[in-house]
Structures are given as structure tokens and as C-alpha cells.
């Protein structure tokens, strides 16, 4: 039986579920707090015995997880998800580029590098528009831009933030949708669970972290096809694919590489944590 490791920097419900799932299946899983590590990258053979055959990377800090995946792959350790998936999905712009390139329906998206051009882009998209940071999660700093005054204020605030990534302006059309979106958990190119995420009465964003509510969702064949094509072009792995229901069918707007699945697991009763362990064991044997 292969040995797995779980790389974490904070134990959320999901990490507890993964630890319990491994125990139930009799799979050895070593939880490792990455905050307690320092890793030699100039000697790739070093540290290999610590991580087992496959490392399940579950860091809450995206950049920590991304860099860790690169280091471990340099040591020939398989990582779920691999660096290639993390690097695309952790950057909304790179995700949009991949989706558009492969003809997957996604909201119209414009990138600008200055406040002035961002304002032009918002006007080109039309009000209301949506402005998002290219990185980050849980709907953090995602704003609905209802008119030009709001646009100017948001852009001025963005300009003041001392992090150059916030000055890459990612602007999207606002999709006319019900007060919910669809979250699909896809593992190894197979749809494991699908839920609707309803926004809370106090917020237009549907993130569970913002108080959103999960309910099971039955995907149509057309929807399944789009979700599976998305997983394929991203590169498989363990993904949380988010889509919205537009008048012309679903549009994919985000792919999460370290998916939080407690909402999906409790709404559907599907053992997502167990499926992640099964997938890690399968990868280890390859």
C-alpha cells in the first residue's frame, strides 16, 4: 500500500475529513504542517522519505502551496494538485485564457494594466460589470461595478494597494443569473458531486465562505460536457469548477485547485474526502 502525505498550514474541516477518510480506508497518510518545514532544493534527493509516494497539497495559503508543489515535483514526488494545475487555477487571468482558447463558455473578460484603461474596459463591458483581483479566493475584493462613480472609487482604492498583482485589472461582464451558481467537484476527470451555491440575503456573492448555502444540483448532459471539458483542459486532478447559469447555458468562471468541499459533502452525502484518497492511491500506483 502506498504512503501518502497531507500538506497543510491550517486544519480546516476538509483536512480533518481527508485524514479520517485515509484512516477508514487503512491508508497511511502523514499530516505535515508545512510551516514547520525547510526544504533543500539544490539536492533533489533529500527530503523524499518525508512525503511518501504522493503528497496531497492542501495549503490555505495559495502561494505557499504553489511553491511547495514545485519543490516536491523537483524531488520527483507526485503532488495533488501538480504545479501546472495550481499555477493556472490560482490566477484567474490564466484560467480565463485557457477556457477561452478551448472554446469553453466563460464571461467576457478584459485585462488592463492602468486605472485609466481599466475604466475604459469597464465602460466597454457595460454596467454592471465585475472587477476581481487575479488571485485570491472566497470572493475577496470581488466587486460589482454599478456605475462610473463606483468604478472610479474601486480603481482608486486598487491603485493604493501596495501589491502589484492588484494593479492587473481583471474585468468581467456581469452574468444575468439566478441568485446561485454551480460548484462541481471533479476528480480525475469525473464529476463526483455538484451543488448549487445560493448567495446569502446580505451578499450577491455565492461563496460558502461569505455565508452561501449549498443544495444538491443535477447537471444536464450539456452542463456535464462543459464541466468535463474544463477539467480536461486544466489537466485533471482534484478541482472545484464554478459555473453560472446564463440565458444561453452555463458559463465557467473559476476553477479552484485546493477545493473546499464541506458544503458539497454535506449537501450531497457523497464521500468526497474518500474519493480524494482513492485518487491519491491510484496516482501512487501509476
Amino acid at each position: 500500500m502506498p504512503i501518502l502525505s497531507l500538506l497543510y498550514d491550517r486544519i480546516r474541516v476538509e483536512e480533518k475529513l481527508i485524514i479520517n477518510a485515509a484512516e477508514k480506508k487503512g491508508v497511511e497518510l502523514k499530516p505535515i504542517d508545512v510551516k514547520d518545514l525547510h526544504l533543500v532544493i539544490t539536492d533533489p534527493s533529500k527530503d523524499r522519505e518525508i512525503f511518501g509516494d504522493v503528497a496531497i497539497e492542501r495549503c490555505i495559503s495559495y502561494f505557499r502551496g504553489l511553491h511547495l508543489a514545485a519543490i516536491l515535483e523537483g524531488k520527483n514526488i507526485k503532488v495533488i494538485n501538480p504545479y501546472s494545475i495550481l499555477s493556472i487555477c490560482g490566477n484567474k487571468m490564466l484560467t480565463s485564457i485557457i477556457l477561452a482558447k478551448h472554446g469553453i463558455p466563460t464571461p467576457k473578460t478584459i485585462i488592463a494594466f492602468t486605472k485609466e484603461e481599466a475604466l475604459k474596459a469597464i465602460e466597454e463591458i457595460g454596467f454592471p460589470a465585475v472587477i476581481k483581483p487575479i488571485f485570491g479566493s472566497w470572493g475577496r475584493l470581488v466587486a460589482q461595478v454599478k456605475d462610473k462613480d463606483v468604478a472610479q472609487v474601486i480603481l482608486e482604492h486598487r491603485e493604493e494597494i501596495n501589491n502589484p498583482l492588484y494593479q492587473i485589472y481583471y474585468i468581467q461582464e456581469m452574468i444575468e443569473r439566478p441568485p446561485r451558481d454551480i460548484r462541481c467537484i471533479v476528480i480525475d476527470n469525473e464529476i463526483i458531486a455538484s451543488i448549487y451555491r445560493y448567495s446569502s440575503p446580505d451578499d450577491w456573492r455565492t461563496n460558502i465562505a461569505r455565508g452561501g448555502r449549498a443544495e444538491p444540483c443535477n447537471l444536464t448532459e450539456d452542463m456535464k460536457e462543459i464541466i468535463l471539458k474544463t477539467a480536461e483542459v486544466i489537466g485533471g486532478g482534484v478541482l472545484g469548477i464554478d459555473a453560472m447559469e446564463s440565458k444561453n447555458g452555463i458559463v465557467v468562471h473559476e476553477v479552484n485547485p485546493t477545493v473546499e468541499f464541506k458544503g458539497a459533502m454535506s449537501a450531497t452525502g457523497i464521500d468526497i474526502a474518500g474519493k480524494i484518497i482513492d485518487y491519491a492511491v491510484k496516482i501512487a500506483k501509476k
Binding site: D9, R10, D33, Y62, G136, S137, W138, P257, V259
Partner: protein
């Protein structure tokens, strides 16, 4: 198993049951978020948890 630890922020006593290393708890006295850490000798300690970063999430 029940263990008794002290809050590194306000020094109040905190009783924990069936803890998991890496878990986050809140100090009921001062409200600070604390992370459960295992020391080299196998005993537990509480350290002030990292606060939410801009890149935190899923």
C-alpha cells in the same frame, strides 16, 4: 483525552479534549485564534495562529 494549556496571549487556562495538531481554537477569555502545535517531546502547546492572508482560500 483532556489536556490543560495556557493561552500565550492572556495566560488564561484552556482545557482541550481530543485535539488534532494544526487545529485552530479561540481563546474564550481574550478571543485570539490559537493553533494547536505538537512539541518534539510529544506534548501540545498553543501558539497564536497566522491571520488571514491575501492569498488564502481554495
Amino acid at each position: 483525552m483532556k489536556i490543560k494549556l495556557r493561552c500565550p496571549e492572556c495566560d488564561c487556562e484552556i482545557e482541550l479534549e481530543d485535539v488534532l495538531e494544526g487545529e485552530i481554537i479561540s481563546c474564550e477569555d481574550c478571543g485570539v485564534d490559537l493553533e494547536v502545535k505538537k512539541k518534539a517531546d510529544g506534548t501540545y502547546e498553543l501558539v497564536v495562529a497566522e491571520s488571514e492572508g491575501e492569498d488564502w482560500g481554495e
